[in-house]
């Protein structure tokens, strides 16, 4: 995984980003293909595209706990008002719509999976990706993405301080271990996938994440 030197390391100050409704740049795609991409899809594409370069066949695991909450609310609002549903919105309302669009636009028929895995979706997605690797895939693309919830849902969603997406390209190796044990602990205040990125970009040797009674321990193997 490539790290930018300017990224804050383990001791860098965390900055809570302000969501001003910016749209990630996906201008590499023709306009006719861009038009059905929600912001969540654009975020996912934006982090995934460079990792998939020169890999026309790349299995993918996409994980999002909350998915496209703005779209869901829009459809439910139309329903509540007895308005006919937009066929486009409806066709994109399933959790695997983003990987479907990805597959179509890249012409990649590799195995792709969309997960919604509670508070430890990242770890469950890594588990899924490891399965694909051990099944013979040379590399697996992992994308974690969350969209800011609409105001109506905001009181019920406390783990998306701002919209974010993380893309990882996983290959078999011995650099890191991920272990699951039974254990309780505070879940991190920061989106966990971002904690992992910080750990990967620094010398941080271990990282722990708790959800319910599950304790996930990431540890860097000694070289």
């Amino acid at each position: 995984m490539a790290c930018l030197g300017s990224w804050p390391g383990q001791h860098g100050r965390l900055v809570r980003l302000v969501d001003a409704g910016q749209q990630p740049d996906v201008s590499a795609l023709p306009a006719m293909q861009r038009r059905r991409l929600s912001r969540l899809a654009r975020m996912a594409f934006h982090v995934a595209w460079p990792l998939a370069e020169a890999r026309p066949q790349l299995p993918m695991v996409f994980a999002s706990r909350h998915g496209e909450t703005p779209r869901t609310l829009g459809i439910l609002t139309d329903l509540a008002h007895n308005e006919p549903l937009s066929p486009t919105q409806f066709s994109l309302s399933v959790h695997n719509a983003i990987i479907g669009l990805w597959s179509i636009q890249r012409g990649d028929h590799s195995e792709m999976t969309a997960l919604a895995g509670a508070g430890d979706g990242l770890e469950n997605a890594v588990l899924e990706a490891c399965g694909l690797l051990h099944d013979g895939a040379p590399a697996v693309l992992l994308v974690i993405a969350e969209e800011a919830p609409p105001e109506l849902y905001a009181p019920f969603i406390d783990d998306v301080p701002f919209p974010y997406a993380v893309g990882l390209l996983l290959t078999l190796g011995d650099d890191w271990q991920l272990q699951l044990n039974r254990g309780d602990g505070a879940s991190s205040e920061w989106p966990h996938a971002l904690n992992l990125v910080r750990a990967l970009c620094s010398d941080q040797p271990t990282l722990q994440h708790h959800w319910k009674s599950r304790q996930w321990t990431w540890s860097r193997n000694e070289a």
Partner: protein, 86 residues
């Protein structure tokens, strides 16, 4: 270009999210689906819904002429005016 044709072009751009496109980019005789503009079957449903809402007309998706009416902006405009006066 008639006002109705212009209205339909703008409706196509707005309803189908055609970023970076202006009404003058869509010629009245440009094929909308498949070739030409390159719209697909989901667009057909979306455009059908948008036309019904905007002009208050009914479109029978099963009718064999529907495909002809949706060939291009000119044929759509002719269809809409015939339905409105009907």
């Amino acid at each position: 270009m008639s006002d109705l044709q212009l209205e339909i072009k703008t409706l196509i751009i707005d309803a189908l999210g055609l970023e970076d496109m202006a009404a003058e980019d869509i010629a009245a005789d440009l094929t909308l689906f498949g070739e030409g503009l390159g719209l697909d079957s989901v667009d057909a449903l979306e455009l059908g819904l948008a036309i019904q809402k905007r002009f208050g007309i009914k479109i029978d998706a099963e009718a064999k002429d529907t495909r002809k009416h949706f060939a291009n902006v000119a044929s759509l405009a002719a269809f809409v005016s015939s339905q409105q006066t009907a």
